[in-house]
C-alpha cells in the first residue's frame, strides 16, 4: 500500500520504513519556531526540571510577534524572557523587533523552511508552512518544552484528506476564497486530527504567498496540518532564499485517503465567513451589505506582500469610507519594507488607513485594533470566533484582502469585483513578480 506525503515525512523522521494512520511515532524535528506567548511557559517548565540546555540551538528560530512592540508591562516581561532565553541558549536565528515578523510568515520568508521538514511551533497556525511540502503542526507549551529538550515529539500519524483544486481562479477570487469555501463545506471540525493535502491544476495559478493562506487555515477545519506537493513554484521560492539541501516527498498514486474532495475553483466567487465561525462562508452575492466599523488587513493568513499589493490595487485613488477605520498590518518587517518601497503605503495612507508594524496584533484581540462591544469588523485574518478580536459582542467577518479593501472604500461588505479591473491583472502581476512571466504562461 502506498503512503501519503505526510506519512512518508513522519516515517522518515521516526526511522520507519512505513507508518499507518493512528500509529504513534516519535519523530525527529527539523525546526522549532518560538514566540513570546507560548515559549516562556515552556522554558519555565524545563527550568523546573533542571533542563537548562536546548537540544540544538541551530534548529530553533525565535521571533517575538504577538504583542510586540510591547503592548503592556506583562507582555514586555514575556518578550524580555524570550530574548534572555535565546541569548543564553545561543540561538542565532533570532528576529528582534525591527527585523521581526509573525513567526509563520517570517520562517519561510527568510529561508528557514525546507521541503520535507518536520516543524512545530506553539501556535496553531504553524500549518502555514506545509505549503512548502513540510509536516508542520501547532502544539502547546508542554509539547514545545519536550521538543526543545529532546528534539523529538510524539505524533499520532494522521489520516489525510485529499483536496483536488481544479482550474484557474476567476476574476476577484483568491486563495483565501478557496480555503473559506473548503471550510464552509467541511466545517470547523471537518478535518479534525487529519492532514489536509492539496493538489490539482489550480496550484499552478497560486504563488507561494497565496498557497500559504490555504495551509494556514487548516486548523480552522480542525486539521493537524495542511500540505502541498513541492513543484517548480515552491522550489523557486526556496532556492531564492537558501541553498540548504532538502529531501522531496510525494504521495504515492495508491496512497489511502480518508476522504477526497474535488473543487472546481473556476466556479468560485469571493467568499465572506459570517460571524462567528470560519465555516460560515457564503458567496459574496448572498451576503448582506452590512455596515463595517473596522477593516483589518494583515495576519499570518493574509499579511504577505502579495496581499498588500492586491489590497492597494483596489484601494488606489479611493478613500476609506466615513465611519469606517482601516488598519493595514504587514506580516513581517520585510513585507513592511517592500510595501514601503513599492509605494503601497502611499496608497494606504492617502486612503486614510492606519499602517502598523508587523504583529499578530488584533487578529487575536491583542492590540492594534481590538474591537468594542457590537462593533463590526471585516478582517483578512483566520478566525472569527466569539471574542477573538476583542469584546465577545463584536462581530467579525472573514474575507480576502481584495474584499477587505473594497469594503473599506464603501464602509459596507462589498464585492471586490466592483473595484477590480475586468481582467485578472492582479494575478498576472503577482505571478510575474514571483517567478517570471514565462513560467506563469507555462503554468496556464
Amino acid at each position: 500500500m502506498g503512503m501519503t506525503i505526510t506519512e512518508k515525512i513522519l516515517a522518515a523522521h521516526s526511522k520507519r520504513e512505513c507508518v499507518v494512520p493512528g500509529e504513534i511515532v516519535n519523530a525527529k524535528l527539523d525546526l522549532i519556531v518560538c514566540h513570546e506567548v507560548t515559549t516562556p511557559p515552556a522554558v519555565q517548565m524545563l527550568r523546573k526540571l533542571g533542563i537548562n540546555k536546548v537540544f540544538d540551538p541551530s534548529k530553533i528560530l525565535v521571533t517575538p510577534d504577538h504583542f510586540v512592540p510591547n503592548k503592556d508591562i506583562k507582555s514586555a516581561e514575556l518578550a524580555k524572557q524570550l530574548r534572555q532565553w535565546r541569548e543564553e541558549q545561543g540561538i542565532t536565528r533570532y528576529y528582534e523587533v525591527g527585523n521581526h515578523g509573525i513567526c509563520h510568515a517570517i520562517a519561510p520568508e527568510q529561508g528557514h523552511v525546507l521541503p520535507g521538514m518536520t516543524i512545530i511551533c506553539g501556535d496553531s497556525h504553524t500549518t502555514t508552512m506545509g505549503a512548502l511540502g513540510t509536516f508542520a503542526t501547532g502544539v502547546g507549551s508542554t509539547d514545545l518544552a519536550a521538543a526543545l529538550a529532546t528534539g523529538e515529539l510524539w505524533f499520532k500519524v494522521p489520516e489525510s484528506i485529499l483536496f483536488e483544486l481544479n482550474g484557474p481562479l476567476p476574476h476577484g477570487v483568491y486563495s483565501k476564497d478557496i480555503i473559506l469555501y473548503i471550510i464552509s463545506k467541511i466545517g470547523v471540525d471537518g478535518a479534525r486530527y487529519k492532514a489536509m493535502e492539496y493538489r490539482g491544476s489550480s496550484l499552478r495559478y497560486l504563488t507561494m504567498e497565496a498557497r500559504f493562506t490555504i495551509t494556514n487555515m487548516a486548523i480552522e477545519a480542525g486539521g493537524k496540518s495542511g500540505i502541498m506537493p513541492v513543484d517548480e513554484i515552491a522550489m523557486n521560492y526556496v532556492h531564492a532564499r537558501t541553498s540548504e539541501p532538502y529531501e522531496l516527498y510525494y504521495s504515492d498514486d495508491d496512497a489511502e485517503y480518508a476522504e477526497r474532495f474535488t473543487i472546481d475553483v473556476s466556479s468560485l466567487e469571493p467568499m465572506v465567513a459570517l460571524p462567528s465561525l470560519p465555516s460560515n462562508g457564503r458567496f459574496i452575492g448572498e451576503v448582506p451589505r452590512v455596515k463595517i466599523d473596522q477593516v483589518y488587513i494583515g495576519s499570518c493568513t493574509n499579511g504577505r506582500i502579495e496581499d498588500l499589493r492586491i489590497a492597494a490595487s483596489v484601494m488606489k485613488g479611493h478613500k476609506v469610507a466615513k465611519g469606517t477605520r482601516a488598519i493595514v498590518v504587514p506580516a513581517t518587517t520585510e513585507v513592511w519594507k517592500t510595501a514601503m518601497r513599492e509605494g503601497l503605503f502611499d496608497i494606504f495612507s492617502e486612503a486614510g488607513c492606519v499602517i502598523s508594524t508587523a504583529t499578530c496584533g488584533a487578529c487575536l484581540g491583542g492590540y492594534m485594533g481590538v474591537l468594542g462591544a457590537e462593533e463590526t469588523c471585516l478582517s483578512t485574518t483566520n478566525r472569527n470566533f466569539v471574542g477573538r478580536m476583542g469584546d465577545p459582542r463584536a462581530k467579525v467577518y472573514l474575507a480576502s484582502p481584495a474584499t477587505a479593501a473594497a469594503t473599506a472604500i464603501t464602509g459596507t461588505i462589498t464585492d471586490p469585483r466592483e473595484f477590480l479591473k475586468p481582467e485578472s491583472q492582479h494575478l498576472l502581476a503577482a505571478a510575474e513578480s514571483a517567478y517570471g512571466q514565462d513560467d506563469y504562461l507555462w503554468g496556464v
Binding site: 508542554t142 529532546t150 470547523v188 480542525g222
Partner: protein, 173 residues
C-alpha cells in the same frame, strides 16, 4: 506519580454548544501571563462570566462537539485546571486541546451524547476503570470511549515531561 483514581465524583457545568474555542475558555487579553492561578480567574469568561464564581474543586465541564478548538494556547487547560475543574467530558475534542490536556495529565473524556442527559448541577461519577459515566442525580448511566493506552500512560505519569523522564531516564541536561 499516583495511579489514576478509578472513580471520580463531582458536579457538572454544562455547555451544550459545539466548538467552544480556546478564545472563549481563556481570552487572548489574558495571555500576557501564564500563571495558573491568574488564568484561573478568567476561565470560560467569554462564554460564561459566572463560571469561576460557581465552579468548585473537583467539578466537571460537560460540552458538545469539538471542545477546545482554535488556538494552541495551553493556557486553556491551565485556566480550567486552575479553576478547579477535574475533567472535561465532551462529545469530541479539538486535537491540540486534547493533546495539551493529556500532556498536562489533565483528564479529558470523550462521551458522545452525554451532554444531552446532564444538567448543570447534576452530581456525576466517572468510573475510569469501567469506562462508565454515572449521573447520580438522575440515576442514568452511559459509557465513554476509554482513553488510549498512550494517553493513559501520559496522564498516569502526570504529563508528557514526567513521562519522558520516566521512559527515557533523565532527559539530557
Amino acid at each position: 506519580m499516583p495511579e489514576l483514581p478509578t472513580k471520580l465524583k463531582g458536579y457538572a457545568h454544562v455547555y451544550e454548544r459545539a466548538h467552544i474555542n480556546t478564545d472563549e475558555i481563556i481570552p487572548a487579553r489574558y495571555l500576557n501571563v501564564h500563571e495558573e492561578a491568574e488564568l484561573a480567574k478568567h476561565a470560560m469568561e467569554d462564554i460564561d462570566v459566572d463560571f469561576v464564581k460557581r465552579v468548585q474543586p473537583g467539578d466537571f465541564v460537560i460540552a458538545g462537539d469539538d471542545f477546545g478548538c482554535g488556538s494552541s494556547r495551553e493556557h486553556a487547560v491551565w485556566a480550567l485546571r486552575g479553576a478547579g475543574v477535574r475533567a472535561v467530558i465532551a462529545n469530541s475534542f479539538a486535537r491540540i486541546f486534547f493533546r495539551n490536556a493529556i500532556n498536562n495529565g489533565f483528564l479529558v473524556i470523550e462521551c458522545p451524547g452525554a451532554v444531552q442527559s446532564i444538567n448543570t448541577g447534576d452530581e456525576l461519577e466517572i468510573d475510569l476503570a469501567a469506562g462508565r459515566l454515572r449521573n447520580l442525580t438522575k440515576g442514568t448511566e452511559s459509557s465513554f470511549v476509554p482513553l488510549s493506552d498512550f494517553a493513559r500512560e501520559l496522564i498516569t505519569a502526570g504529563g508528557l515531561l514526567p513521562y519522558i523522564q520516566k521512559a527515557h531516564g533523565a532527559v539530557e541536561s
